[in-house]
Symmetry: C2
Subunit: 511 residues, 2 copies
């Protein structure tokens, strides 16, 4: 039996005609081959197989789906939208198919699941492979699961943060102090960022704010700002906005800052998982990549907020400070009251309305949102050396009261592409008190879930408005909160959930 002479092997053997399937698989690269096509049979590919495609020098790894007939010819390969955009084959180009190189970082993911601490090199290799889209969705889910809970040591968080920074764009600004803020989240309606940016930049600081879309919440700052102005700015447009106004509030995803974080968030969102180590790496990699020098973290603490009690807050704060220190980043954590939602609206447009009311100093403005934004702005001013501890709050308040912050916000939105007025959802349904008494508590998580089931953040006008505060007296049939939706089906869906959880707003005996 003669040995097969290796150098003569026709490998990769397949040259297939690409066909754009127009299917958006939500991130994962997928390709389609006809059942029984030579490429399947000869290479031993089956459903779930990972394979490598190349067109010219362009390469991509993808997961295989088998098509039963009709849609594809035997010499064709169907490309999902993300694969098509990656390879961009011309009419005459052919796709070569081969087994992918084995993904050398996957054994590290398995080691992590078995409890081993990973080295910097291992985490860097994982992040690099994810950045190069060599991981399937389920492999990313396993990595996220392995890093969840308290499974990441400090050195691992530092390594993960650094690796995520290095796989994307890193912005540099021609000023020594660049401020930033971030909210750990979990508190519906806590939309202080636009107000803080307006105050800080009106007072001369540089604050090029990049924000995220919602991960597991009914709205992220980018979702809310997208209601008011374009947020999908590229780096050049962002730079021009910052040059002109000192600040911006844009979606970080369009800037390619720590893009692996976005890829992971995609899966974390579907799994509804946020773990401390990944949370810190996610927050700080974005800040470092954005060129920030000083960061203020808003950390709401409350029984149904993301951070539930002081011990957990202390651990997270310690991790944030330790990782920030390793990167020479100044960081201040402001623990805030996480008992109940902030402002009135929950959902992109409803929160935007609250932000505008505060900035415009309207009589209807939610005062709790105003006071939180001022407290955070004061810490930002102090951190940046713009004001002392005794004067910073007054300075921020004056900036808001005089309309200076509102004019500055308008200038920023104009520079980003124009200010828009938020609309109102066509379907609204109040959830009323079943009994009279006193509001004893509000379940932030379930309230957020109701807002999401009503359509937020995918439907920007959807969500809910909170009509009561903890401690307030209520009478039977009084609205507790009002669902907003863009379709009747979504109202029904949210109402079905609310009916199953009657204690979202907990009512106790009257005082």
């Amino acid at each position: 039996m003669p040995a097969v002479p290796l150098p003569d092997l026709p490998f990769p053997p397949e040259r297939l005609r690409p066909r754009r399937m127009g299917i958006d698989t939500g991130g994962e690269h997928v390709v389609y081959l006809l059942h029984g096509a030579p490429a399947c049979h000869g290479e031993g590919f089956g459903p779930h197989s990972r394979l490598q495609l190349s067109v010219g020098s362009r390469r991509v790894m993808a997961t295989l789906a088998i098509v039963q007939g009709g849609a594809l010819a035997a010499d064709e390969i169907g490309l999902s939208e993300s694969v098509w955009l990656h390879l961009q084959p011309t009419t005459h180009e052919r796709v070569s198919l081969s087994h992918p190189p084995s993904v050398e970082s996957l054994p590290s993911v398995r080691a992590k699941l078995y409890g081993r601490t990973l080295s910097e090199a291992e985490l860097r290799a994982i992040v690099t492979d994810i950045a190069a889209q060599r991981y399937s969705n389920i492999e990313m889910a396993a990595f996220i699961a392995g890093c969840s809970g308290d499974h990441l040591a400090l050195d691992e968080v530092v390594a993960l943060t650094g690796a995520m920074v290095d796989t994307g764009t890193r912005l540099r600004w021609p000023v020594p102090v660049v401020v930033d803020k971030h909210c750990v989240g979990g508190l519906p309606g806590n939309r202080t960022t636009p107000i803080v940016v307006a105050i800080a930049t009106a007072l001369g600081l540089t604050m090029p704010k990049t924000s995220s879309r919602a991960i597991t919440s009914p709205a992220g700052t980018a979702d809310t700002m997208a209601v008011l102005t374009p947020v999908d700015l590229d780096i050049e447009r962002m730079r021009r906005t910052v040059e002109r106004t000192g600040g911006c509030i844009v979606w970080g995803g369009a800037i390619n800052l720590a893009p692996v974080d976005d890829t992971l968030i995609h899966i974390e969102r579907a799994l509804d998982i946020d773990s401390p180590g990944q949370l810190v790496a996610s927050i700080l990699s974005k800040k470092i990549a954005a060129g920030s020098t000083h960061v203020v973290i808003d950390m709401p603490v409350g029984p149904t907020a993301k951070v539930r009690e002081p011990r957990q807050a202390g651990m997270l704060e310690q991790m944030l400070l330790a990782v920030a220190a390793r990167f020479g980043l100044g960081l201040t954590v402001l623990r805030t009251d996480g008992l109940q939602p902030v402002g009135r609206g929950v959902g992109p447009a409803l929160e935007a309305r609250d932000v505008l009311a505060v900035m415009q100093n309207l009589p209807s403005q939610p005062l709790d949102l105003r006071e939180r934004a001022l407290a955070l702005a004061a810490v930002v001013l102090e951190t940046a050396g713009r004001a002392g501890a005794d004067t910073s709050l007054a300075l921020a308040r004056e900036c808001l009261d005089t309309g200076q912050a509102w004019r500055q916000f308008q200038a920023i939105c104009e520079a980003q592409g124009g200010l828009r007025t938020p609309g109102l959802a066509p379907y609204r349904h109040p959830v009323v008190a079943s009994t009279s008494g006193k509001v004893e508590g509000i379940d932030n998580r379930r309230l957020a879930q109701a807002a999401k089931l009503a359509g937020a953040p995918f439907s920007p006008l959807a969500g809910l408005t909170v009509d009561v505060r903890v401690g307030a007296p209520v009478v039977r049939e009084q609205p507790l909160f009002t669902l907003h939706a863009q379709s009747p089906g979504e109202v029904a869906y949210a109402m079905e959930y609310v009916a199953r959880h009657p204690d979202i707003v907990r009512i106790g005996p009257a005082p």
Copy 2:
């Protein structure tokens, strides 16, 4: 603003024309909607959204993919093959679409990732939801990750085992003693099962053996048996085979024993993860569901086997015994030498050849496979009370030597649908010694990986033959093992891996 009167809501609002897409998504239910279709917009569905479909009383949950145009009309819904087979819509039926009920067991998966011990009710709910196909692939990956390592307590393994048994068929046999065996795996070529079944049933025992396909190995018993005879028997056919011969060797997947295990194995295989708790639940749920009363476990222990050292073997044995005891199952663990592959072949057909050689008592038979099968058969005979410790091995040996076992094996294969002769792969490539010396060790994992890259088990003829044993002298250029493949690309792929890992067979100085 009037409240939307809930009882009048047109919900579920969408009635779509089903279109069979013919796409096999490898287990996960996927549906396709046109971008901008009313169902997407109105309900706020986007890529990755989970939704519920119903046709008449048939329901299914699925993950959404968006199609950019052309392939679907706005009032159509594309169904992947698994969804189509589930719903089986007639020409005139329409598909209703709604938000799925929230999957109430998912918070327990998150709790598991955060380190909490789950209750029996929680694990039962998870298994029930997986059985009802309410989990997406990434949700299953997170569950598997959460159970990996040593994250499952004994009570959790018991609960998982019981829940998996209860979601499938449970076989009952009209005899008091039903024997079974299982190999923990990790040792390429260790294909003793067909021989043990032949001996045990030839000697009058009842052994209705259900086997699995490979999880992370180059072949499972079902893969090997499928080369020799049909293994996809339904329960009726399996029963007839057992009635006629006392035994069978079929693929468990066709019998619907603990089907959730098969669903999970699908993802575990893609992730290349096997965890102790899930391993025990997987093994024992199948045995209990198969109606076994006495089980013998072959546990190879060696530096590159699945079980690496005695401590790990002890822990796994303890867990197996403890869980088996809770279900009243008699269980015996036989620890075996896990130093190197067993027999000559690695891969479905190549292992089938070894099995036939032993059973036919050919001069070329691999004696190590023969001796291991005899040792296991002896323990099976003892466990079942068919022979004492002093006579069981001699009895098994006599059964094999006289051809009684071979005749019995032929009878079983005939009853299953006929005995076939295994073929030989067209592409074969020897991997030779780079130096003269003595074989110091064989890396089972990497050897198995090479066999898999050569195409096993998807290509049944693929794999490799091992040409040397640990301790044997070798001379330069002597073949160490020979790759078998069904395409030249697979030879090249495996060779590329072998070249990067030159120490799969480790050669030391000559003695």
